[in-house]
């Protein structure tokens, strides 16, 4: 304790180098933890997003692409699934439920998802949790909308709010579906999945705003637009959807059902098992993650090398100080531990600041980070992993302190009480 106090006072007396050393350790620790946290957050968020779904079916594409656009709302589908094909597979005997998904429209940057009420009943996230309503209820009529928690919060919409949706993701003036006011009838509880940033409407709603459109382009003459009241319900049967989720009655049927979809002759379709697609995704992302982590580890090494440099360069100017300590009774061992203490203290302060800063930063800026990433990041807050990394940094700092400690120890033996300076 005595030695730690002396070491701290000594470090404090060299304020500039001490602060810079601590800063470099803090930054490198924060970087390593930050990389890991965003990685973990993304992973857990992805893994939390689909559960209870046996298969995701869309037009023929790679499993990762299908998974990303259907569930995570990242990227775009290559083609649609025709309504006929959907009906064929939805009516298979071992199908427990299906949830059709129709994407492609947006409102103020939030994706609009056309679906059926099955979505609210069968979609599961996290530990097989069902969607629940914070306010209102499931959509009922054509222009009813159910907002994800984050969408409602950021848009500031409450029940009864009315809005338009636009074609595509960017709000481009000319392609807006004007005069088709959707009305908020329900707001979901927060889930920590892309559902939070999604606006849910009925398939018919999506269909209704596209009446009169041809090949993805709005009607040219304004008068040809159909008034809401004129829309005939029978017209609202969609021709196609983007993808659909399937729940089967028995898990043993999954592989056969998947093969049937993949070999379906009338239309080129793909069926993927969410877990399998996710693990493929992790394999792809894994290399990048490793590289990132490698960089972060090297930054830590650089930070700790800085610590060692600082202490080693201070040794010469402290030769006198050490001789004085020896003269008042410090053992050579004390001199050794004085320097080890100093290295440990600096590493500990740096690691602590780094860990706290990265957590604070992620909590303070989570909204911005999530908005930029496009998906929610879970698992913020000090974790056991932070503790391990911080302890690791401190331990390495402690171990590095042995080198200056040893040099000072040797010197204290040969210098005796007098030092030529």
């Amino acid at each position: 304790m005595n030695l730690a106090l002396l070491a701290w006072k000594s470090a404090k007396a060299r304020a500039a180098t001490t602060v810079l050393t601590i800063l470099s350790i803090a930054i490198s620790t924060a970087l390593l933890l930050g990389v890991e946290k965003i990685r973990e957050g993304a992973r857990s968020s992805f893994e939390q997003t689909v559960s209870g779904t046996d298969l995701i079916i869309g037009s023929r594409s790679g499993p990762i692409n299908l998974l990303l656009y259907s569930v995570f709302r990242i990227g775009d589908p290559t083609a649609n699934v025709s309504w006929q094909s959907y009906e064929v597979f939805a009516q298979r005997p071992n199908v427990a439920w299906t949830v059709p998904l129709s994407l492609g429209d947006s409102h103020n940057g939030f994706r609009v998802l056309g679906t059926t009420t099955n979505y609210f009943e069968h979609y599961r996230y996290g530990e097989k949790r069902q969607l629940s309503f914070a306010d209102g209820e499931v959509f009922f009529s054509v222009f009813d909308a159910v907002l994800g928690a984050e969408a409602a919060r950021e848009l500031g919409y409450e029940l009864g709010a009315e809005f338009d949706i636009s074609h595509g993701l960017k709000s481009a003036g000319f392609a807006e579906h004007k005069n088709r006011p959707f009305r908020v009838v329900g707001i979901l509880d927060r889930t920590g999945t892309p559902v939070d940033r999604t606006i849910h409407v009925s398939l018919e709603g999506i269909e209704a705003v596209h009446i009169g459109w041809n090949n993805g382009a709005p009607p040219i003459i304004r008068s040809t637009q159909t008034a809401i009241s004129d829309i005939d319900k029978s017209e609202l049967q969609p021709d196609s959807i983007t993808a659909f989720l399937v729940g089967l009655k028995s898990k043993s049927a999954v592989l056969r059902y998947q093969r049937d979809v993949n070999t379906f002759r009338p239309e080129a379709l793909s069926a993927v098992i969410p877990g399998v697609a996710l693990s493929q995704l992790w394999r792809v992302v894994g290399a990048a993650e490793k590289a990132l982590r490698g960089v972060a580890v090297f930054v830590i090494v650089a930070g700790l090398t800085g610590l060692l440099t600082t202490i080693l360069t201070s040794l010469n100017e402290r030769r006198r100080e050490i001789a004085v300590l020896r003269s008042v009774g410090a053992k050579s061992r004390d001199v050794f531990f004085l320097l080890v203490c100093e290295a440990t203290i600096l590493a500990a302060i740096g690691a602590t600041i780094g860990a706290v800063a990265v957590n604070l930063g992620l909590v303070l800026f989570s909204t911005q980070i999530e908005a930029a990433a496009g998906f929610p990041l879970g698992g913020f807050g000090l974790s056991l992993y932070d503790l391990y990394i911080a302890m690791g940094v401190i331990f390495i700092g402690f171990a590095l302190g042995f080198l200056p400690g040893w040099i000072a120890y040797r010197r204290s033996l040969s210098d005796g009480l007098t030092v030529q300076i």
């Binding site: 004085v324 005796g416 009480l417």
Partner: protein, 251 residues
């Protein structure tokens, strides 16, 4: 060789040899004896082995051969850590200059030995506040009243003031032996004598081993020994180490 002298001698060196790791022999002393409370002036030029001898007496260097019983402790058989403890408990050391730890204030510098010896700390005072009080008191007696109270940092003091702080540190907690290695060589002639007077009067019952090349200062002391008369003398070659002795031997 037992004598009838009742008190244990402060320093009792017999047939002491000290050889550096590089094989250079720095000390060969047949006999050196310092009584308790004795004020001894050790005179000699640099390179004569003075510093090495002080290192042995302070317990920093272990004798290569022979006996060095310091304050009743057989240093020649003890571990380095045990010798360090004796130094912390019962010795005070003053260097030529740069005696103070720059990042500690004056009182902390004076109380530095208390960090390494509980026994010494208890002799100074039973509580931290009491010890600080004692240190401030001692500094005032050495003419540093104002400096102690304003708690100035060591770097703000003149060399003479720094030496007095070092003296206070050596004196704190009533040590039995004070080793002063050329403590006045950085001082001017007027302050030199005053410093020695103060040191000796404050040292009370402690033995003082005062090293200097300046024989004029010996008038303050009970006894004068020239190092060349005891190192490598008598039965050995009666010569001092040549001036060209390796630097390490001087250190």
């Amino acid at each position: 060789m037992r004598t009838e002298q009742t008190p244990t001698p402060c320093v009792n060196i017999q047939n002491l040899e000290y050889t550096w790791a590089n094989g250079v022999r720095a000390l060969s002393i047949r006999r050196l004896y310092i009584r308790q409370g004795e004020r001894l002036f050790l005179q000699g030029p640099s390179g004569s082995g003075k510093s090495t001898l002080l290192g042995v007496i302070a317990g920093v260097f272990a004798p290569t051969a022979g006996e060095a019983t310091i304050l009743g402790q057989p240093f020649h058989t003890m571990t380095a850590a045990a010798r360090d403890r004796v130094r912390a408990d019962a010795m005070g050391v003053i260097f030529q200059q740069f005696n103070l730890v720059p990042y500690l204030n004056l009182v902390e510098n004076v109380l530095l030995p208390c960090r390494f010896s509980r026994r010494r700390a208890e002799r100074v005072g039973s509580t931290g506040a009491e010890r600080i009080d004692k240190a401030t008191h001692l500094l005032s007696r050495l003419g540093l009243e104002e400096e102690a109270q304003t708690n100035r940092s060591a770097a703000e003091l003149s060399v003479g003031q720094q030496q007095r702080v070092a003296a206070a540190r050596a004196l704190i907690g009533s040590p039995s032996l004070i080793i002063a290695d050329e403590p006045t060589s950085a001082l001017d002639a007027e302050t030199r004598d005053a410093f020695i007077e103060t040191l000796l009067s404050e040292a009370q019952h402690a033995a003082v081993l005062f090293v200097s090349h300046d024989a004029l200062l010996s008038k303050h002391f009970d006894r004068l020994i020239a190092i060349e008369n005891i190192n490598f003398s008598q039965d050995e070659h009666a010569v001092s180490l040549p001036q060209s002795a390796p630097a390490r031997a001087e250190a």
